[in-house]
């Protein structure tokens, strides 16, 4: 029964606290009255009796508090009281409170947002069965050190039959399809994946509707089948169950819908709309080839097998394959990455760098608030001293100060949380290229992180000033407050230290931002080797169903160019299978017929581009030697090639390439091509080097995807021509969808988006930190001057020049700034080393960046100091001396 009694007592003391408090009052009063009555009975006068009783009784308030302490929930009561005190304190100084909450909110918000992104993208396992056993397998090359190459079908078949470390291995490839309905629905281009039938079972996915591919669907002779993603099913088919078994047109060929993937399945990314079986889509010959590297491999390790073991085993298998093919593009090693790492390693460095930057920002915010709180504590020294003298315990005052800063950080956390969800929304919009961007959301762990940050920041910002305002020197504080000649020196020293730290962190951020910005500017000023202004590009994809032969395709391209070139405002137009700056596309192995045979094991590899003769003129790629293909030959299979300078320089050093012959397997039958011209280099990647490239006539190629490049006459906005060009295309083939309508500059922006994003964000953080540091410096200097008014007054009265005073104060203020700068520069050297992998043609110790940052910081610091210093030099000695 005792526990029920205890529980009742606890509930009573919790909820009927007011009544219990009254009762206690009555109880003590009764005791006192009894004492008085006794004293009277002993013969005292009522007055005497009363004061004697009170004397004996002691301080009733203290007594009441002591009794209350025995009650349960005492901690809650004290907490509430301190909270109330803290609130009052903050409401009394709204300017300070709002400023502190916003600063804290900014720091916490940015951190929660970045943490959420990192957790969602880099850390949270993919939503598959036993994800820690899932891996991606790449080919690697010991000679070149390249280790993330995509796979060939031949090697994959060998792996599958020989590798013992894997429970299962699946293979896939990303493609684009034209999707249309059988009843004249609008066509669209969709991202799609070709996957071997065992991929879904390997990942452990169950269909939401219908079924997935079986082994018998995954053969060249099987009927064409397709599995839809949930999104496509909802969007294009209105979530209609009857779509199962129906026929849709993919690249103008009929496919039967087998099933629908669950809504959560967004592998490898959320853009993929449908899946088809790989071995049905690709010929048996191409799937057995050891030379065409086109595929991604996903594997599931057997339980208990480590990645290292699998790596060792599969490396042996691959070396065996290499021995069978000492010539040709067969790699001699493999590389296994955990699946999550494989999908995200490209954005890892950038995200962690941003997270580090937000961490710095938060630390700066904390230091700033600590600094403000110290200033507040200093102005309340007298209050604190009086309270301590009256018996308030040091612990209590400490607790109050920490609670005050915790209140600030909690409010800041709330603001930050709102901010974080805003930042996340913006980030998802701004960076669709981040893998798993669709999975980014604030979850329980992010909330925990936010709460943790709030508490840590609150304690950090509160503890420093609380400890600095020690109650040890009550007397001194009380004396000081009457003669404030050199008040609060220790507080000032601490604030200076914090400020130096803050400035140091700011310098690190500024230098990081400077390096990233410089690297980005390098990227943007890269000369792609072709026209970038006034060029409109778009992509077309000729479906296999309608354009069965090369001749049909070439005829379409010819008509298209003819129409586009005749549009008003168009200066030139051309077609290519891959635009400069749009990434590495197809590459093929070749050899030079006129040269002696290559030593075994050596292969030549060059990027392959199919272009029409007008492409070089349209993109203003200079022709260095020879000529381009002849236009009148365009409908024939032209056995001619144009090589770029990079290839010419390496392979034809000291000889004339014109008239030499190249053999390569770019068309179905092995052909030799006569080199008729040499063009200047263009870049495939903005941050890359020019690669050896061979241009073939578009009539040679089997290029179904082509980019149309249209150069417009100068005053025209290239985007204004988008509609007329698209009309021209639909005039020829109304069913042909057009994608990626972009100007060349937009295309480059896309490929440098990552760099610009990181640089802009870090710069924004750096500017905010600089602002905070400047405000901090201004605040501390104003405070010091306030404290030293009398001293300055005496100096001036004794004949100090105004200039001297100003000099003195400036020196005082700039000292922490210079110290911070030195700390920051030293730390930046290390930070720059970590950043190096993200920097393009920018040394981590770029002197210009360091110089500009130092200059900016000193300028900002001087500006922050000049106003208080000038004010100090204007001090009227009479006013200053009379102040006390």
């Amino acid at each position: 029964m005792r526990w029920t009694h205890k529980l009742r007592m606890r509930l009573q003391t919790l909820f009927l606290r007011g009544r219990a408090s009254d009762h206690l009052q009555d109880e003590l009063q009764f005791h006192l009255d009894q004492q008085i009555a006794e004293n009277v009975a002993n013969g005292m006068s009522p007055e005497e009796a009363r004061s004697a009783a009170l004397r004996r009784f002691g301080n009733p308030a203290v007594l009441r508090d002591q009794a209350r302490e025995a009650w349960s929930w005492g901690w809650l009561e004290f907490l509430l009281r301190d909270l109330r005190f803290g609130m009052h304190g903050l409401v009394r100084t709204p300017g300070f409170s709002i400023m502190a909450i916003l600063v804290m909110g900014l720091g916490i918000g940015a951190n929660v947002a970045l943490f959420t992104v990192i957790h969602s993208v880099l850390l949270r396992p993919l939503p598959f069965k036993h994800p820690n056993r899932l891996v991606r397998v790449y080919e690697a090359d010991r000679r070149t050190g390249f280790h993330d190459n995509i796979m060939d079908g031949g090697s994959f078949a060998v792996w599958q039959s020989q590798a013992r470390s894997f429970e299962q291995m699946a293979i896939k490839k990303t493609v684009q399809y034209d999707l249309a309905g059988t009843e004249g629905q609008l066509p669209e281009v969709v991202d799609a994946e070709l996957g071997s039938w065992n991929l879904f079972p390997l990942l452990g996915v169950q269909p939401a509707l219908g079924r997935f591919f079986s082994a018998s669907d995954d053969r060249p002779e099987a009927n064409a089948t397709v599995v839809l993603t949930w999104r496509l099913w909802k969007r294009r088919y209105g979530g209609d169950r009857n779509v199962l078994g129906k026929t849709v047109l993919i690249d103008a060929k009929p496919y039967t819908v087998l099933g629908v993937l669950p809504a959560w399945f967004t592998y490898p990314n959320a853009r993929v709309q449908l899946w088809t079986p790989l071995y049905h889509e690709r010929s048996a010959g191409s799937m057995q080839s050891f030379f065409s590297h086109n595929f991604d491999v996903v594997g599931r390790l057997k339980p208990g097998v480590t990645i290292d073991q699998a790596n060792a085993e599969l490396n042996l298998v691959q070396q065996g394959i290499r021995k069978r093919f000492p010539e040709g593009p067969v790699n001699d090693a493999i590389n296994i990455r955990p699946i999550l790492n494989a999908e995200t390693y490209k954005v890892q460095a950038g995200l962690y760098a941003l997270f580090a930057a937000t961490g710095c920002l938060l630390l700066i915010a904390c230091l700033n608030i600590a600094n403000l709180l110290i200033a507040r504590a200093a102005t309340r020294r007298r209050e604190t001293a009086i309270r301590t003298a009256l018996g308030s315990s040091r612990a209590r005052i400490l607790r109050e100060q920490i609670i005050e800063s915790l209140l600030l950080s909690c409010a800041g956390g709330a603001v930050g949380f709102l901010l974080a969800s805003g930042i996340l929304q913006w980030m998802i919009q701004a960076r669709p290229d981040i893998p798993r961007v669709d999975s980014i959301h604030i979850d329980g762990i992010a909330v925990l992180f936010a709460v943790g940050l709030m508490l840590v920041c609150g304690f950090l910002a509160g503890l420093v000033p609380a400890l600095s305002s020690s109650g040890k020197h009550i007397l001194q504080a009380l004396q000081e407050s009457s003669r404030s000649t050199s008040g609060g020196r220790s507080g000032v020293r601490l604030r200076r230290m914090l400020l130096s730290l803050q400035i140091g962190l700011t310098v690190v951020l500024l230098i990081g931002a400077g390096l990233l910005l410089k690297s980005y500017r390098h990227l943007r000023s890269v000369d792609l080797g072709c026209a970038t202004n006034d060029v409109l590009t778009m992509r077309i994809n000729l479906p296999r169903g309608t354009y069965k032969t090369g001749t049909q395709m070439t005829a379409f391209y010819e008509r298209l160019l003819e129409r586009v070139r005749s549009l008003p405002g168009v200066k030139a137009a051309g077609l290519t299978s891959g635009l400069p700056g749009d990434g590495q596309g197809r590459d093929d192995v070749y050899h030079i017929v006129d040269h002696p045979p290559l030593p075994p094991g050596v292969v030549l590899d060059a990027s392959t581009r199919f272009v029409d003769p007008g492409y070089f003129h349209a993109m203003q790629i200079p022709l260095l030697q020879g000529r381009v293909f002849r236009r009148e030959q365009q409908l024939e299979l032209v056995p001619e090639a144009v090589i770029n300078e990079a290839l010419a320089r390496v392979q034809f050093a000291g000889e004339d390439p014109i008239g030499k012959h190249i053999a390569s397997g770019v068309s179905d039958n092995d052909e030799t091509y006569e080199i008729v011209g040499v063009s200047a280099n263009t870049l495939e990647d903005v941050s890359g080097n020019p690669r050896p490239t061979i241009y073939y006539s578009i009539s040679v190629g089997s290029a179904r995807t082509a980019a149309l490049a249209v150069r417009v006459a100068a005053p025209h906005d290239p985007l204004n021509l988008a509609l007329p060009v698209q009309k021209a295309i639909s005039g020829i083939d109304p069913a042909l969808p057009v994608t990626d309508v972009l100007t060349m500059n937009q295309l480059i922006n896309q490929s440098t988006g990552d760099a610009s994003f990181s640089a802009t964000l870090v710069l924004a953080f750096a500017v905010i930190s600089l602002l905070l540091a400047t405000v901090g410096l201004f605040g501390i200097l104003s405070y010091i001057i306030e404290q030293r008014t009398t001293e300055i007054g005496i100096r001036i009265a004794l004949g100090a020049e105004r200039g001297q005073v100003m000099h003195l104060i400036l020196k005082d203020g700039l000292r922490p700034a210079v110290l911070g700068l030195v700390i920051g520069l030293a730390a930046s050297v290390e930070v720059a080393r970590l950043l190096q992998s993200m920097l393009y043609q920018t040394p981590g110790l770029d002197p210009l960046v360091y110089l500009i940052v130092s200059g900016t910081l000193l300028l900002a610091a001087t500006l922050a100091c000049v106003v208080p210093a000038w004010r100090a030099s204007r001090v009227d000695p009479m006013v200053a001396l009379r102040k006390e």
Partner: protein, 109 residues
């Protein structure tokens, strides 16, 4: 927040429980009773008495009731609960053991 403690720590609880084992009393009467029985040796300070009473009440060893006192005023009367009686027995036994032990040592040495 130091408490004035004239008694060995924990002894006051025992004395209060013992005092209440005969009849229910209010705080003043408990203090008076301890004072009288001990021949004015033990002076219970209010600063110790009331926190102790409230602590024992929270523990569920004593319970309180407001009733009319001998002077006709409402006063808070404390009485032992069943659990309190048990507690008193065990604490008394403890005390006896302890004091006997101390007595033995004092005689021997």
């Amino acid at each position: 927040m130091g408490k004035p403690s004239d008694l060995v720590q924990g002894t006051l609880d025992l004395l209060i429980l013992k005092t209440l084992s005969i009849e229910s009393r209010h705080g003043w009467a408990i203090a008076k009773r301890i004072q009288q029985i001990s021949g004015e040796v033990l002076q219970v300070q209010q600063g110790s008495l009331y926190p102790a009473l409230h602590r024992l009440e929270q523990q569920g060893w004593i319970k309180a009731k407001w009733a009319e006192s001998e002077t006709g005023r409402q006063a808070k009367f404390y009485s032992l609960t069943a659990a309190g009686r048990k507690q008193l027995e065990s604490e008394a036994a403890n005390w006896n053991r302890l004091s006997e032990a101390i007595t033995l040592i004092m005689q021997e040495v």
